[in-house]
Symmetry: C3
Subunit: 325 residues, 3 copies
């Protein structure tokens, strides 16, 4: 440690180190884009994480709390938690509004007061909507309990299942996204993507009773539309057909629609804004779909053959892959 | 910041905000299931993470420690660490036992003392078993060193490989699961799922010398049985055939068996409780299997053709995919 | 809590617990490999994470900072941050050099001073190279803005996209790897693997304007070579053909080469050191390639058929899978 200190101070008087510092500072001047000095504050990833944790405790009281919730303290704990989340989220939302308005060369920049008032309105609307969001999430958790033989109880699901956390955060982020909050909705869903491997764009519209089993590798694109009681497995992609960005109308629907009671098995890929999977249909594992599927249809890969080779004799045998599930 | 404070207190006297708080509280009363107030404590996700970290340091002493371990201090550091992990884990296990006994409408609820005594027995048994668990994990780490050309040394593997952390936590969780500890084993494996993208259910039975390369997207289901010296690559699923939950006997084996010295390449999916991959067999990438494979067999997808299209001339050519590895 | 304390002290005088502690200590003596007592310090995972965070703030100033950067404070904040990262990283690098030299039974062990001087040189070189690394990362971020219709702005990408963080850390790790720093480069990339599901080996060589969309499940092997303006989607593997470790020349190129302007769609697997994807070529989803592809070629799976079964009537119909994207 002493050694370290010596070194350090050594470095600070070291012309080579000092020159390196200057070069880094020059590169901040030189390069637009990746430096953001005096770029009016941006929303803070760290504070967004704290806000997400508060929402998780507000949505599932008594599950993740540091302090025990009782009938006696619940009113005060919850009131204080809502006040805190309101205050911090208003600040973050106001900053993203200011940032975006200042980047938007067209419109005139927003005033700090105007941004705070808009943010206040947006966050309050979200808080007022929490009871409805909780009802939907309850259906999501029930879908997990019913949909997964390994789920031992409702408590088990809420405590340990990654999908529940990812979907809860998505529902908060989606509500903010719909109200036009910039930057923050994506920060929220990307935090859960990092925690769960489930990548849900805040723009997607997803019905109630939604369950994702295992979840790692799932991608749900910005303009996806998902009905009620839909179930996905790990590695499912709801994506866009590649399009020349230039040709693209940003409002255009690029991702598929899944109607009610659809199930999509592991590793299936469904692409395109016109692709619709009809009510009650089932898409088998590894299927790659770029066209619509009618209701009540089961789509599987037509079994390609498997080759079995005996590693000693070298004899080979063919048998069809069996995608039936 | 001052502004923020103003706002906040503003909010607290704001009838609209106060009404929102009441609505949230009402929704706690209304909705069963997702609120858990006075639901006797649940195990704490945060404390489980601390316990996992202690076990990692106990299993691999000197690798992740904050303080330097020496022959002089090791007895005291380890004794204190074991005492801490024992105390905290006993508390968590007792809480899950109490929680579960109170939910179990059949049997009469367990007393707090009874829960603590049972938890004490279970945790002590785990600690007594640590030397055996370390021996198995040593074989796991050796398998990584031998199985991955990119592994530079044993130290490299233990320091950086996600699979080692996931397997170590699984072995702790499995030991608790087998003793009948509720909730906590899954909390442990889901924490590592979040860190590594490797989803191992604590119920799976896995032999020694087990290695998972890269690991992201691997799913190992609750009733999987895996022999010794098995190697998996990223994106491998050992899953269940879909079953109507109602028809399901929870004890039934739903996931496959891999015998000794089996290798499964990236993206392969193996499903079903009756599916057994025989000793020494190899399953190629992207294979989808729902039936058993005899010993010493290599199974590959029968090459579907690839289409090569020249992007300027538009000429196309066909060639079989080559799954040989 | 009182109860817990009682228990705890109870345990410390408990012969059974004391015996368990002794058994764990004996297993430390018995098992080589997984214990590392007085194994001279290893680099610390925790400190590496702090160092990564410092580099993220140095590369993208004003994006992730806890404190606001202004034209007035930037020189001092950055100078202090560079001094800190230099000091801590030199200590960690020196430790891995010492560790490795002591394991290397051939050469004579390095002295602590020698290790510190070498480490100092390596870290200073990295800091001097930061401006160049920032230029390349700017191109990477631009590629994301242009390559993803869902990207709303440069700020959006730098704030929320996992690929940018994974690539930034990889570029730092690669620079250290090329200079011969042991252990630490892999610790850096595995930390980002854990955060993003993107597994890039520090040994890979990757050009500018590199983008990975979504990213979960991507694996880029040690000897991969990637040109400029390459784009990958989630679940892409650049891997090795399986080789008997014994037969292996560690220097040998085991992973593929992607030339400039190549795009690889979701779930494709490309294997082998001799496999080269030519300039401007496109590899479709789920393709499995072990041979080279000429320039300007689009490779897709030759559509296997899909089976559509009506779930009420049971009628089935066949249609080719459409991989066109």
């Amino acid at each position: 440690m002493k050694q370290t200190m010596k070194q350090d101070s050594g470095r600070l008087n070291d012309p080579r180190f000092a020159a390196a510092v200057e070069k880094v500072l020059e590169s901040y001047e030189a390069l637009g884009g990746i430096n953001h000095i005096e770029g009016y504050n941006l929303p803070s990833r760290e504070r967004i994480v704290l806000i997400i944790n508060d929402f998780e405790e507000l949505i599932f009281p008594g599950y993740y709390d540091k302090e025990q919730l009782t009938r006696r303290n619940v009113r005060y704990v919850v009131g204080q938690r809502l006040a805190r989340v309101h205050t911090t989220l208003v600040t973050e939302v106001a900053q993203s509004l200011l940032h975006t308005s200042r980047c938007d060369t067209a419109g005139k920049a927003m005033s700090r007061d105007e941004a705070l008032n808009r943010a206040d309105e947006m966050v309050l609307a979200l808080i007022e909507n929490l009871p409805q969001i909780r009802e939907v999430l309850r259906e999501d958790a029930l879908a997990a309990v019913e949909g997964d033989p390994a789920a031992t109880s409702f408590v088990d699901v809420v405590l340990s299942y990654p999908a529940i956390r990812a979907i809860a955060a998505y529902r908060i982020a989606h509500y903010l996204h719909v109200q036009g909050v910039p930057l923050i909705p994506r920060l929220i869903t990307e935090h859960l993507h990092s925690k769960t491997g489930i990548d849900i764009h805040p723009g997607a519209a997803i019905g109630k009773g939604f369950f994702i089993d295992h979840g790692t590798g799932v991608v749900i694109g910005e303009t996806s539309v998902i009905g009620n009681h839909v179930k996905l497995y790990q590695g499912v992609t709801l994506g866009a057909l590649s399009v020349d960005r230039a040709k693209l109308d940003p409002q255009r629907k690029r991702h598929p629609t899944l109607e009610d009671n659809v199930t999509i098995y592991a590793g299936a890929t469904i692409l395109g804004g016109e692709t619709t999977i009809g009510t009650g249909s089932i898409v088998g594992g590894n299927v790659w779909l770029t066209r619509s599927v009618p209701p009540d249809t089961k789509v599987m890969v037509d079994p390609p053959y498997l080759v079995y080779r005996n590693r000693r004799t070298g004899d080979t045998e063919h048998m069809p892959m069996d995608f039936s599930i």
